[in-house]
Amino acid sequence: MRPPLRIRLSTGWRRALPAAGLLALFAYLAVAVPSALFATWARVRDLPEASRDDARAALARFRGPEYAAAIDRIRAALPEDAEYLILEGDANKIVRFDLAPRRAVFGGNAKDLRTNVTREKLASLPRWTVVPSVVAPWPYLVETRVLAERGALP
């Protein structure tokens, strides 16, 4: 039987090869260390401006003042232990978080309102519906009854 093939490296290669790994890591560090330090510097530079924000200003800085104002309006209208219906949309998870601990009930897609939000179901649905959006027209409240009557968003 033929013996298994084994590649034997010369002594020089055996010693030089691990050093290549070291070089690779140093090459990475050469690029990544300055990047990390600059990233830190960018945050230090932004600190004075951002540190003055209160909670609302921080939200306005992050999502825009219109969004923050819209969330404020909904929070004022819905007590913390209230339930609300929330419609489908990319922003529904964001809006749900900003309205928590208010509890959301999923209301489906706006185009399916005629099926999901009907007069017959009104009794079992929350009084208010939130239409989520992180861009204009921003999140807003609609009475669920209005949706049931119109079968579409106002």
Partner: protein, 1268 residues
């Protein structure tokens, strides 16, 4: 809550867990003996695991209401227990072995950088609200529900109708959030809880370092920790990293710490810590349970592989951990049983309904590519895993340690579980890899990191001198050293280069971040990108025709219109082979140019001074001199590293005139010339001067063998360079390319230009003439002027005696001849410089004329130099020696001073160009110098000299300091000057532009289209864009390009540009295009001004009508790349789509051509000429002749665009004003056009009125400005 309050509450939360965990650490003997930093890491992890963990268990088992007391009770209990233990035990000294110096340095570096990154992270966390998508969707939302209901089973989670994503996700981290908020009575401001996550970053790193150093040693562990610390994903990523509020970093810390504890030789207390941590992992994320189980299996394997004597201890710790994991799993199961599952992947259901084999067959082939894309993502990892992969492969021998197999089992097991979950996920294909793979890498950071550290350890053990340079090793590698010593020296050099690369990344920030497609501007970088690509392309296609570029068709040798840069392109060949875009390669080369220039100067400085510290000063001063930033568009002139290496090779050769060093001198000469022709030319005189001066100073001028060797080496190098130089001579002869004196004068510096700072320099930019003189901004910075002065003043100058003359005195007759020649030439030069020059006439015929003093000056200088070389005139005052060689021997200053001074002087005089005799004489007398358009580039030679002198100055200052304070560390002086130089030279953040790295649609089409002739791109020579973009695209389509740009222009292009700007464009242009021959014309519509658009459209319409041009296709949407074929040269070209605009001429309904008739009455009232319109464009007017409402076609920018609305409207006012039109009920027209992206800017509208009898009238154009 005001801005400062969340910061206080956030930091309070971190302290809360630290204090509780610190108490726990005190109870665990193995951990309390660790160094302080490690204890802090352990304390934080154990604190977060224990406090919310206990609250969670209390909530599950006893349904305890979550209040401040419930949170504080376990925390206080742990603190008190720790204190009690401490009091009982007494304070014992902690003794930790001192690691070796290299390890200490690496650890300090890692600690410093990680601390800096953590500062940025914690500031970001405390001030910015962003939590990340999943955090808002799951964990932080859960925390709000838990806190509102004060229960681990809040109504929102229990109510099956409530809209909750991942309701069964474990709550450990949400409870940690609640703990912080309850303790400090804070609001729901997300900034309060973010530092809780950020603090996991240092905790993970500290604990990893603490555990990894046991297996891999301090240096390898520190370097790996540093590598993890600076990866963007771990630190600054909001969607998974420590900057957000995801549970992946906590899971990675709990799991990694618990696993690595089990894989050591755990004492009982370490087993207890592992138990707490793995239990916390189970309660942190759903995958925590299977991962913890894998960790236990790995621990079992470690026990099996261990010595029998240690096995029992291991198994005891393992049993403890397994018990904790089981308890946590049971508690979690009990909690989940109460929570209705919805809005989540249910893997148990999936497992029943999905065929795993089918999914594996469909999805597994997709996973490697998707995972590879994530792993090599530059924005996320900056190449960490690529480097880690290379390290693992190269250092595989380091994985022979006993800890490696369990680590591989742990990583492999978790990976297998991950892949299994991917197969079951309802998401299609490999979609879920994108958000989850990087998080898996985070979760496995500790085991993967330890594997890398083991491989690194092999590297460090193989090359123990690898870090020697960090500790100030000064030894210069000798060629005769043993192979292993040479290998170590190579490694050290590589590390120096990498250090310069790191500095470059910082000094050119943010280029490294946008390396793919950013550049300094869209001019010369595009041309250089093409040159580099052409070198690569032609080498493998037609190397013997390297200089016959595909630009400037039909001219030959177009590569010789500028620098060929072949030596710069060579190292980029592998990158091109990998498919890198030419612009990206150019960007990489630019950064390498800074680093290599610094490295080259470092070498020269080290060789001349023998000091590594001085070499760093020289390298940094030369690499980042402000002028280099001014050369950002010219990568070739920025890349000056071969210059100092050439001078170093010369110095080394003069020290030891061996054959090997002669070869290296020849190689350096060749590589310098191959890289940049400018540097070849500009180093010739300084090289000769340095050689002569050093040779005569050291008395080696009589070593004939040595000189023969040098001559042979340089001769061979010159011969090898000839194929790269002769094409320039041929091109010059063929096309008459030489630089005029006026051109060279424009780019010759004036002395005050040495005080003009480059506008990019952040410190001195105010000290620049306005407008900036461009390449004549030569100010090197204050330090680089002051330090050389200090070097000249401070360096010791011991007096010496001139050695006795070795040869016989020169012949007096020869001296008299030389004096005569010098005097005659001098007078000739003076008179030739007069306004009229010298004109000698004989019988009315001019027999001699001298109007330019240059050649006479050459003769004068040569005669004088030779005369003084042989013997000074007796009348020469203040000279001690008899001739120049003796004077040189009398100069006792170090070589570094002499070389530095010589280079600075020659470089300075050279930079004055043709305004000063030095370069003027060379320009007039030597052909090569007539190719230099910008003599100010001599400044690079001067900077090198100044940088050497700066190094000498700091070396001398440091030595004096050392003499005054013998205990002082001179390294600090060098470091301080280096930092000062970097600060003074700072140009970052650079103002970069996003280049067009990728080919557009038209270019891709052209690449596939065969061509008999060339391509003309219009507009050509546009003020704003030039032809640079066309040249860059020529590197993508590879077809012959007529309208190009380079160092010289061509009459053909001048003619095209001239004709193109005429109104109307003459039809001769078409004749010219056919003659060139041109195959295709690409008209970039969006670059045409309204006026040019009109003339171009008219010219094209005529050519289309006559059949000489064929419209092929419009590409690239609003860019409007309209491609036309020249029918004569491309007879088979066919239209692929109809012309996108309406030609003014065409056929009327009767089949006859429309007849232009100016008597057709009508108007365009809106938009008024010069008006500015916002939003939708309304075009309104009227068109009627007696008895007929005219048909109206509206052209916007020459094209019939589909209106949003169009109708006829009554215009009674027109009937009132114009008699005889009849009924005007439909005389008016109105059309509205929607604003589209790209519409902003000047436009024109034209109305075509047409009658039924085949007449038409073009009304307009009416110019207006359209705004959104």
């Amino acid at each position: 809550m005001s801005g400062g309050a969340p910061v206080a509450a956030a930091l309070g939360g971190v302290v809360l867990f630290l204090a509780a965990g610190r108490g726990l650490v005190e109870l665990l003997p193995a951990l309390r003996q660790r160094p302080l930093a490690a204890r802090l890491g352990w304390a934080y992890l154990l604190g977060v695991a224990a406090v919310p963990g206990m609250v969670y268990l209390l909530g599950i088992v006893f349904d305890v209401r979550i209040r401040r007391g419930v949170v504080l009770a376990p925390a206080i209990l742990l603190v008190l227990a720790g204190l009690f233990s401490r009091v009982l035990r007494g304070k014992a000294a902690v003794e930790t072995p001192r690691p070796p110096r290299a390890g200490r340095l690496a650890a300090r570096a890692a600690f410093a950088v990680a601390a800096a990154a953590f500062i940025g992270l914690i500031l970001d966390a405390a001030t910015h609200r962003e939590l990340g998508w999943d955090a808002e969707m799951t964990w932080s939302a859960a925390a709000r529900w838990v806190r509102a209901d004060r229960s681990v089973t809040p109504r929102a989670i229990l109510d099956a109708d409530a809209f909750v994503d991942h309701p069964q996700y474990p709550l450990l981290l949400p409870l940690a959030q609640v703990a912080v908020q309850e303790t400090f009575d804070s609001s729901d401001d997300p900034r309060v809880i973010k530092p809780l996550y950020a603090a996991f970053f240092p905790a993970l790193l500290l604990v990893f370092f603490d555990l990894a150093r046991r297996h891999a040693g301090t240096a390898a562990a520190a370097l790996t920790a540093l590598a993890l610390a600076v990866t963007p994903y771990l630190a600054f990523e909001h969607s998974g990293g420590a900057a957000g509020a995801y549970s992946d970093v906590p899971l990675g810390a709990f799991l990694g710490a618990g696993l690595l504890l089990l894989l050591g030789r755990p004492r009982a207390s370490e087993g207890a810590a592992a138990a707490v941590l793995l239990a916390a992992a189970v309660l942190t994320k759903n995958e925590g349970l299977p991962f913890a189980a894998v960790a236990l299996v790995a621990g079992g394997l470690a026990a099996a592989l261990d010595r029998p004597a240690d096995r029992t201890r291991r198994l005891r710790a393992l049993a403890l951990a397994a018990g904790a994991v089981l308890a946590a799993a049971l508690a979690l199961h009990a909690w989940k049983a109460k929570v209705p599952q919805r809005w989540d992947e249910d893997y148990t259901v999936q497992l029943r309904t999905v065929s795993l084999a089918h999914e594996a067959a469909a999805r597994l082939p997709l996973l490697p590519r998707a995972a590879a894309i994530e792993t090599v993502s530059w924005d996320d990892w900056s190449g960490l895993w690529v480097a880690a992969g290379v390290t693992l492969l190269a250092g595989a021998s380091g994985l022979r340690r006993r800890v490696a197999p369990p680590l591989l089992v742990a990583a492999g097991g978790c990976l297998a579980f991950y892949v299994g979950a991917l197969l079951l996920t309802p998401w299609r294909g490999a979609e879920q890899v994108h958000p989850t793979w990087n998080r898996l890498l985070l979760q496995l950071a500790c085991p993967l990191g330890l594997l890398v550290a083991l491989a690194l350890r092999a590297g460090l053990r193989a090359r123990p001198a690898a870090l020697a340079f960090l500790s100030g090793a000064d030894r210069i590698p000798a060629m005769s050293e043993q192979p292993s010593a040479r290998a170590r020296a190579f490694l050290r050099e590589a590390l120096v280069f990498l250090a310069f690369l790191a500095l470059t990344v910082a000094m050119t920030w943010p280029w490294a971040r946008h390396l793919r497609d950013y550049c300094s501007d869209t001019g010369d970088p595009y041309l250089n990108s093409w040159i580099l690509w052409w070198d690569w392309h032609q080498t493998f296609h037609a190397p013997l025709h390297l200089f016959d570029g595909n630009i400037y068709f039909p001219y030959k040798l177009s590569l010789a219109f500028s620098e060929h840069n072949y030596g710069l392109a060579l190292p980029l060949f592998p990158l091109f082979a990998l498919g890198l875009r030419p612009l990206t390669a150019q960007g990489i080369l630019t950064l390498l140019g800074f680093a290599f220039s610094g490295y080259g100067a470092f070498r020269l400085g080290r060789t001349l001074t023998g000091s590594t510290g001085a070499a760093w000063v020289t390298g940094i001063a030369f690499a980042f001199v402000p002028y280099r930033f001014g050369q950002l568009p010219h990568v070739n002139y920025l890349f000056a590293g071969w210059i100092p290496i050439l001078f170093e090779a010369l110095v080394l050769f003069l020290r030891e005139r061996s054959a090997r060093r002669a070869k290296w001198l020849g190689a350096a000469f060749f590589l310098n010339g191959l890289a940049v022709v400018h540097w070849l030319v500009l180093t010739l005189v300084p090289l000769a001067a340095v050689a002569l001066v050093l040779a005569f100073r050291t008395g080696v001028e009589r070593d004939r063998t040595g000189w023969k060797r040098a001559a042979l080496a340089l001769g061979v190098a010159t011969l090898a360079l000839l194929p790269f130089l002769l094409p320039y001579q041929r091109a010059a002869k063929l096309y008459g390319f030489t630089r005029s004196l006026d051109e060279a004068r424009d780019f010759s510096a004036e002395p005050h230009d040495w005080m003009n700072a480059d506008p990019r320099n952040q410190l001195w930019r105010g000290f620049s003439q306005f407008p900036s003189p461009g390449e004549r901004s030569l100010f090197p910075g204050l330090l680089l002027l002051a330090l050389p002065l200090a070097a000249l003043l401070l360096s010791p100058s011991p007096r010496g005696n001139a050695p006795a003359p070795a040869g016989s005195p020169p012949s007096p007759r020869l001296l008299r001849w030389l004096d005569g020649i010098a005097i005659a030439a001098g007078f000739l030069a003076i008179f030739a410089a007069s306004p009229t020059g010298i004109h000698l006439r004989y019988h009315g015929r001019e027999i001699f004329r001298a109007t330019d003093p240059a050649r006479a000056l050459v003769v004068f200088t040569a005669a004088l130099a030779l005369r003084w070389w042989l013997a000074y005139p007796a009348a020469l005052p203040l000279v001690r020696a008899r001739n120049i060689p003796e004077s040189l021997r009398l100069v006792r200053r170090p070589d570094a001073i002499v070389v530095g001074f010589l280079l600075a002087l020659l470089g300075f005089f050279g930079s004055l160009g043709v305004r000063f005799p030095f370069h003027r004489i060379l320009f007039e007398a030597v052909f090569l110098f007539r190719s230099i358009r910008v003599p100010a580039r001599w400044a690079t030679i001067a900077y090198l000299g100044l940088a050497i002198l700066a190094g000498v100055a700091v070396q001398e200052l440091a030595a004096r300091w050392k003499r005054r304070r013998p205990g002082a560390r001179t390294g600090a002086a060098f470091a301080a000057v280096c930092v000062a130089l970097l600060l003074e030279d700072r140009a970052a953040p650079l103002d970069l532009v996003r280049g067009e790295a990728d080919p557009d649609e038209a270019t891709r089409f052209l690449a596939k289209t065969p061509m008999a002739g060339g391509l003309v791109e219009l507009p050509s020579g546009d003020d704003e864009h030039g032809n640079y973009r066309a040249v860059l695209r020529a590197a993508d389509h590879g077809k012959p390009l007529v309208t190009a740009v380079s160092g010289f222009s061509s009459p053909l292009i001048s003619r095209i540009e001239e004709d193109e700007r005429k109104a109307p464009i003459p039809d001769d242009l078409l004749d010219l295009l056919e003659k060139i021959p041109t195959s295709y014309v690409l008209v970039r519509g969006s670059w045409l001004s309204p006026a040019m658009r009109t003339t171009h459209r008219e010219w094209i319409d005529r050519a289309l009508a006559s059949g000489r041009l064929v419209f092929v296709k419009r590409f690239d949407g609003d860019v409007q790349n309209d491609l036309f074929a020249v029918a004569k040269n491309e007879p088979s070209a066919r239209a692929l789509e109809p012309l996108p605009w309406t030609p003014p001429a065409g056929l009327s309904p009767s089949g006859a051509p429309w007849r232009e008739d100016g008597s057709l009455t009508g108007a365009v009232d809106v938009p008024a000429e010069g008006a500015t319109g916002h939003g939708s464009l309304r075009v309104e007017g009227w068109a009627r002749i007696p008895g007929e409402d005219l048909d109206v076609t509206i052209l916007v920018d020459g094209e019939a665009r589909t209106p949003a609305a169009a109708r006829r409207i009554p215009r009674p006012d027109v009937c009132t004003a114009v008699a005889g039109l009849g009924d005007c009920a439909r005389a008016g027209y109105e059309a509205t056009y929607a604003f589209r992206p790209g519409d902003a800017g000047p436009h024109e509208v034209v109305a075509i009125f047409r009658s039924k009898d085949g007449r038409q009238r073009h009304y307009g154009p009416q110019k207006f400005v359209w705004k959104p």
